[in-house]
Symmetry: C2
Subunit: 221 residues, 2 copies
């Protein structure tokens, strides 16, 4: 049996609570749950036992099953692997060039519908204007996924007959200033991202068009 199949089976047993107590399962039901036959399910559980990953006690109606220390160890190993992967989701650094604000975002950030939500969520009033950073291909790739995925969302609203769409927001830092990267859901493709903050970033950080800057993003997905 492949190692990743062992992980898969132990993961599912663990999810059913088999790490620290016996659970009762029937090979038929267990198999059906993960798209395999009663026969395969039976065979695999028996192999897991042989390999020392689980303990099985046969009942008249099924089995009592619990992970052994070796089984728990294996699951913890996999947990640690995924924790490693989570690190990639915790901080993403992008580098780019300050460009002039043509102002899609600047216009948005004066709209009460957005301002109020920002006040509500982050407890600050955004400086009326966005800092625009132009990214190259590699840096664009890094944020591609974040454009449409965040736990932090400014909801759409209507104002003067116009609809303003959803905006995904990610927290970030430039130098040591808290900033927020805004991704309007229905923005057309652009290689420029827009940053807001509670203050004038150009002034605070002494930024001018053409300067190279680095931005850290802390995605919440």
């Amino acid at each position: 049996m492949k190692d990743y199949e062992i992980s898969f089976l132990l993961k599912n047993l663990a999810l059913k609570g088999a790490m620290f107590k016996y659970i009762t399962i029937k090979t038929g039901a267990f198999g059906a749950e993960y798209g395999m036959s009663q026969q395969s399910s039976s065979r695999k559980l028996s192999i897991l036992e042989e390999m020392g990953y689980i303990e099985r006690i046969q009942l008249k109606n099924g089995f009592k099953i619990k992970l052994t220390d070796k089984g728990i160890e294996k699951v913890i190993e996999d947990i640690k692997t995924y924790r490693e992967i989570e690190k990639f989701l915790q901080e993403i650094e992008v580098k780019g060039k300050i460009v002039g604000g043509t102002g899609e975002g600047s216009y948005y950030m004066t709209k009460a519908g957005y301002v109020n939500q920002i006040k509500e969520i982050f407890n600050f009033i955004p400086y009326p204007g966005t800092l625009n950073i132009e990214l190259d291909g590699e840096n664009l790739n890094k944020i591609e996924y974040l454009k449409l995925h965040s736990k932090i969302v400014l909801n759409e609203f209507s104002d003067e007959g116009r609809t303003f769409g959803k905006v995904y927001v990610h927290r970030g830092k430039m130098d040591h200033v808290d900033v927020y990267v805004i991704f309007p859901e229905r923005s057309h493709y652009r290689n420029v991202i827009e940053i807001i903050a509670d203050r004038n970033l150009r002034k605070e950080l002494g930024l001018m068009d053409g300067m190279e800057v680095s931005l850290k993003i802390f995605p919440e997905v």
Copy 2:
């Protein structure tokens, strides 16, 4: 291709950093790393692309590969699954019966070698005596793994020519009192666990032999 095999491959690509940027891989090397042939590696990566989990750009010497949104989504899903499993590791509740202290642990807890380490790690001086809780089979199962696995370890030391062995410790709570469960590495099998605290638990919690109690353990493994 089985779903758990997809997860396995994406996990490994993610670990190599392919979530937010292109990485360069060769089918031969990638396959060898995970115990498969160049041919299988090639076939599988090509299937992952077909299924929309990755983007591949062929180079003269290998491929540039990056997870697509669908691929990232899948990895995040798996991260969440393992977070679920972690919950089982965060708090374990056991129930048992107070029994008289015959005092293996009580004796230990007067030894300066242990006391000093406890002072160092937890910043308290243990009350000289342990509270003993007798567990039934089911509750013993829950802590079996913890007996020999903890990040918190009191190291062995020698005193008056005798060696005192390693002790694994887990934080816990009884009612709202912070307690510590001690598992001497070389303790013979027993259905009794020993608890220490900075105070007299019998007095503090009004406990007497034979009483049923509940103990929460917060394993650090």
